[in-house]
Symmetry: C2
Subunit: 390 residues, 2 copies
């Protein structure tokens, strides 16, 4: 599992003292090669954290030797001082590993608007460097030390019969953009993968995994997904097969994030079919997934399909009410935007809810569909998010 599953990688996770709680808060993932190909996807928020600005810059080379990640502070809205901290962090990693700072990506997560304790971070890197190993335990330690409001570490792995592996870890309960709170993910592979292929594969994988998870429509300043390829298996991966494996790992991580989202009591999948285009399918599914009235109804185990129909109706997409069907947990409740079934037949007592919306504007082989995963809006969500910074 995790970032040490693929050959050529070592990792560590330590308690550097950034978090006041004393919990693990700093992770280091090192690529020992022979290759150092890498790709990244970052938040589309215009307000970007210092580590995002740093990592975007260093990734233009397409190569990374290491990633250093911290929880306990986002290093966002911290100005030149914050950028210098991100830079110093990369320099320190470069120093202990004997590589260049431009080969080191930095990821941070936590509260916006506070400076990171720079010396504490740098000392933590020394500690982490001393604990670097390629064991599963080291991967798990790295996974544990990037947690913020996560209650469990997230790890995933796919091994291909051709002899290469993709493994990864993630934190957070959102998506690249938007996201509930920062999400960070590092995925490693020992396949031999061209840089251009790696970049294209990551964009495709993110599109159908983290980008299809929408907890509350917010978008973080820090979201980052990185993939590092060591080539240590010596096996050149077929681009399509590799993309599929990377997508599986990212989807697995995204599902773990959904299950562990802040305040979650229901795991909701919104599936839209028959849209005029794939973009429209995503837009309708996302609008339903974000609707506060839909989300509170689900929290109340209330199959209030009228709210689903209303949300579809205000989505910025082609919707014809006369063709709009809504099915919840297998019970057709609304056909052509008209009441069709009995709410009482619809059982929402379980933890999983499937909302299916048929738009009737495409079908068969030309049908456009999309799925967005989200969670309900619960008392625990309000509780957790009303008492975060202070």
């Amino acid at each position: 599992m995790s970032v040490t599953a693929a050959r050529g990688f070592r990792a560590a996770g330590v308690a550097a003292g950034i978090k006041k709680s004393g919990r693990p808060d700093l992770a280091l993932v090192v690529n020992d090669g022979p290759r150092a190909d890498a790709a990244g996807v970052f938040t589309r928020n215009k307000v970007k954290a210092a580590p995002v600005l740093w990592s975007q810059q260093v990734l233009t080379s397409g190569a990374l030797r290491a990633v250093v990640l911290n929880s306990g502070g986002a290093n966002a809205c911290t100005g030149p001082q914050g950028f210098q901290t991100a830079h110093a962090t990369a320099e320190k990693v470069a120093e202990v590993l004997g590589c260049g700072a431009v080969e080191v990506a930095v990821c941070s997560t936590g509260l916006i608007g506070e400076q990171l304790p720079r010396e504490t971070v740098l000392a933590g890197i020394d500690t982490a460097a001393g604990e670097l190993t390629g064991t599963p335990e080291a991967g798990a330690a790295a996974a544990g030390s990037i947690m913020t409001t996560d209650t469990v570490p997230k790890q995933a792995q796919v091994t291909d019969p051709a002899g290469w592996t993709v493994g990864g870890t993630a934190k957070g309960a959102g998506m690249i953009a938007p996201s509930m709170a920062t999400m960070l993910a590092v995925v490693t592979t020992d396949a031999v993968v061209d840089r251009a292929v790696l970049d294209a594969a990551l964009r495709e994988a993110v599109r159908y995994s983290f980008d299809r998870l929408d907890i509350d429509g917010s978008m973080s300043t820090n979201d980052t997904v990185l993939v590092l390829a060591s080539g240590a298996s010596g096996v050149a991966a077929d681009p399509a097969v590799f993309t599929a494996a990377l997508t599986r790992v990212c989807r697995d991580l995204a599902e773990q994030m959904q299950a562990d989202a802040e305040g979650v009591t229901k795991r909701i999948t919104v599936r839209v079919a028959g849209a005029a285009s794939e973009d429209d399918a995503v837009t309708v599914a996302r609008t339903i997934a974000r609707d506060a009235l839909v989300k509170t109804a689900m929290f109340g185990s209330d199959p209030n399909w009228g709210r689903v129909a209303a949300a579809a109706g205000y989505a910025d997409a082609a919707v014809d009410p006369e063709r709009l069907d809504v099915t919840i947990n297998g019970v057709l409740l609304c056909k052509g935007a008209v009441v069709a079934g009995d709410r009482a037949d619809c059982d929402l007592s379980g933890k999983d809810v499937l909302i299916e919306v048929e738009l009737g504007l495409s079908g068969g082989a030309d049908g456009h569909t999309a799925e967005i995963r989200t969670t309900d809006l619960s008392h625990a969500y309000v509780e957790e998010n009303s008492a975060y910074s202070s």
Copy 2:
């Protein structure tokens, strides 16, 4: 106050028996003329309730003799049967008043996807017709009978020195589009106002009142704002003066809706200045006002400005982080997207919160600003909306 403040109008509000609780649920507002000019603004949701489809159709004439409103059922997603109910409702009002059904608008609010009890509604119209008077009490009764989750009736009035009055009532806690739950408003005036002027005035008034209130980003199938002009004062109103008076009444009603929004513990005003355009100012203010993390922070009286900066950063508008300032309740907390003040100096213990965002992209006489009013995301909001239909 209310719809009977202007001369030429009678109203009534009765308990017709649509609501199981037995509370008032049907209102009638009648324009006795001499003129019958009218204008309306309706939800932009593609899924429109039957009464919206009916009222949009009859309003193409620009004339209305009466409006009948019910709570206890939205008559949305009810198909041909629902439309026939809306039609029969207008026919019944026409019959008791001796006018044409095409001179009667219909408004409904309540749960989506259930048929209204048609005979109960028609009988209620008989009762209401028997109670029609032009007294303030009748206006208040009408205001009371359109309430759903409202805890207080909403009424407003402006009287112009020239001798005419604008008065109105509203229900709901949202905006025309989007809205938290259905909002309905009926405004009456005894000024002599051209139909074209009335229509333009209403669009302008709504734009700066109900459209600037955003409780949770949802958009109802039933939102309707109507204005009826009797001309009974015999005074022709100056279009600009009339527009200003109508806007004041609508803003007053919108502020009452904000103060009575579901689960409200904080009244939040988001004021954006220095935007590249007015549309951008609205977009940034609305994005912040809708952000669940901002809203939960406010519920927790937590001046977490980082969430405000992050929300501005993902708004679909021109935003330059280096010019982005955030001030909460008068304390400058963030300058150029960098921490500038101490959160501890910011007192959010009161009920009113003012979030000011300066974008620095326009200024002075060419400055583009906008204000959106919203509320916090509280436990009570979740409670109320998780137990609505069932």
